[in-house]
């Protein structure tokens, strides 16, 4: 479904990677590994179209994502470094807004259920939550995005406790088992029991 061909990425005068090609099929899990500053986030941003590669292109079902724009982004759920939650809104309001922005209906029961799975109080302003809880409030989008064919997750396990990390691993494994694809970055080993795990090591 997702195809990257001959990607180059430079940051300033430093070349992060050159001539990187790979493809991702249904039901595949791709882990982008590498040290800090090796270009994991840049690669992920190139894959979702937030960043333009210095050379090469990314194709979705055969068509370049630069031409598809929102026709492509409808098919993906991207969780970046920043949690994308507003401090003044409650976790439920944040989640409902995020799913409406992604083009899905925000059914209140599903939103509540997703937050409950991650153990986040729904009606407390995010300002009052801890850093780890904020991260979990952002990850609560995953249970709501089960029909989205491609997940792109930047460091999904950062700042999570063991329970939340296992839940996230289970969600990723479940998504792959449904025949969808997941790309995630991490600098540590993650144990996801998926049929196909591929690793790109940067740096």
């Amino acid at each position: 479904m997702l195809e990257a061909s001959n990607l180059d990425c430079r940051r300033g005068r430093r070349t992060l990677f050159r001539d990187l090609s790979f493809s991702l099929r249904r039901g595949e899990l791709l882990r982008i590994a590498g040290a800090n500053g090796s270009g994991k986030t840049s690669l992920l941003k190139i894959l979702c179209g937030l960043l333009t590669p210095d050379a090469g292109e990314v194709r979705w079902r055969g068509e370049p994502i630069r031409q598809l724009r929102e026709d492509f982004s409808r098919n993906l759920a991207y969780l970046g470094h920043a949690p994308a939650v507003k401090d003044d809104l409650t976790a439920a309001e944040n989640l409902a807004f995020a799913s409406k922005l992604a083009g899905a209906a925000a059914v209140p029961e599903f939103v509540q259920a997703a937050l409950a799975r991650y153990g986040i109080p729904a009606d407390v302003p995010v300002r009052k939550l801890s850093q780890g809880q904020r991260r979990r409030a952002a990850l609560a989008r995953l249970p709501l995005s089960e029909s989205v064919p491609l997940w792109l997750l930047d460091e999904p396990f950062a700042a999570l406790d063991a329970h939340a990390a296992r839940l996230t691993e289970a969600l990723i494994a479940g998504h792959v088992a449904r025949g969808h694809a997941v790309v995630f970055t991490t600098h540590q080993e993650a144990d996801i029991g998926a049929a196909v795990l591929r690793v790109i090591e940067l740096g």
Binding site: T52, E70, A82, A84, K86, K100, G103, A105
Partner: protein, 222 residues
């Protein structure tokens, strides 16, 4: 698509409601700047009446610029902007919704309070309608054009000053037609021509600015 735009307007209004100080700043700034002039110039009614349209319009211009730099900055800082760029709706639509919410919070209150300001300048009540109407047509243009500047200067250090330098020259036509319409009315002529030109500016800005803002956002987030 419409659903996403509605969600953005709703969310931004809700955020403004939970942070009323942000809304109050622009309005208070407008009131204070416009009130400084009668104090500085002196209470000569004819002089005040003559400068009123220009002064009120310049104050509105500056007030609407005041919160521009925050338009995309907060969403940029917490990552929401990335989600908007990757949303299901076209980016032009999303930024149009953001600008609409910004205008409702920062522009519309100026329109509502303008007659009160006009009172200080001894403007005849017959002109209040023209003044409010010119602001009603003009302030959305200010928000739309200003948002292009806000998108271009997003994430730059010292972006606030650059934003002013970039955007204020573009505000000139709005100022000329806006203040001009009130001047015409106070001279006893029909302000219709000026107001129609303002309306035309609004239509053109509403049609093209969202796409320019979207393009600028894509450039400055890379």
């Amino acid at each position: 698509m419409i659903e996403a735009a509605r969600a953005i307007v709703r969310r931004d209004l809700l955020l403004a409601l939970r942070r009323p100080s942000d809304v109050g700043t622009a309005l208070l700034f407008f009131v204070i700047v416009a009130s400084l002039f009668p104090l500085g110039i002196g209470a000569e009614p004819n002089l005040l009446r003559a400068v009123a349209p220009g002064v009120i319009w310049v104050a509105a211009l500056l007030a609407s610029m005041l919160c521009l730099s925050r338009l995309f900055a907060a969403d940029h800082a917490d990552g929401t902007l990335e989600q908007m760029l990757l949303g299901a709706a076209p980016l032009g639509m999303i930024v149009a919704a953001k600008v609409l919410a910004h205008w409702l919070v920062a522009g519309l209150p100026l329109v509502a309070i303008a007659p009160l300001i006009a009172l200080q300048y001894d403007l005849p009540p017959a002109l209040y309608g023209t003044l409010a109407l010119s602001l009603l047509l003009g302030t959305p243009v200010l928000s739309l054009v200003g948002a292009i500047g806000a998108a271009l200067t997003l994430g730059l250090r010292g972006g606030g000053v650059l934003l002013a330098l970039l955007v204020l020259p573009l505000y000139v036509p709005v100022l000329i037609f806006g203040a001009g319409s009130v001047d015409m009315a106070s001279a006893g002529l029909s302000p219709l021509g000026q107001l129609q030109l303002l309306g035309a500016l609004l239509v053109v800005a509403a049609a093209f600015a969202p796409w320019a803002i979207a393009a600028a956002l894509r450039i400055s987030t890379e």
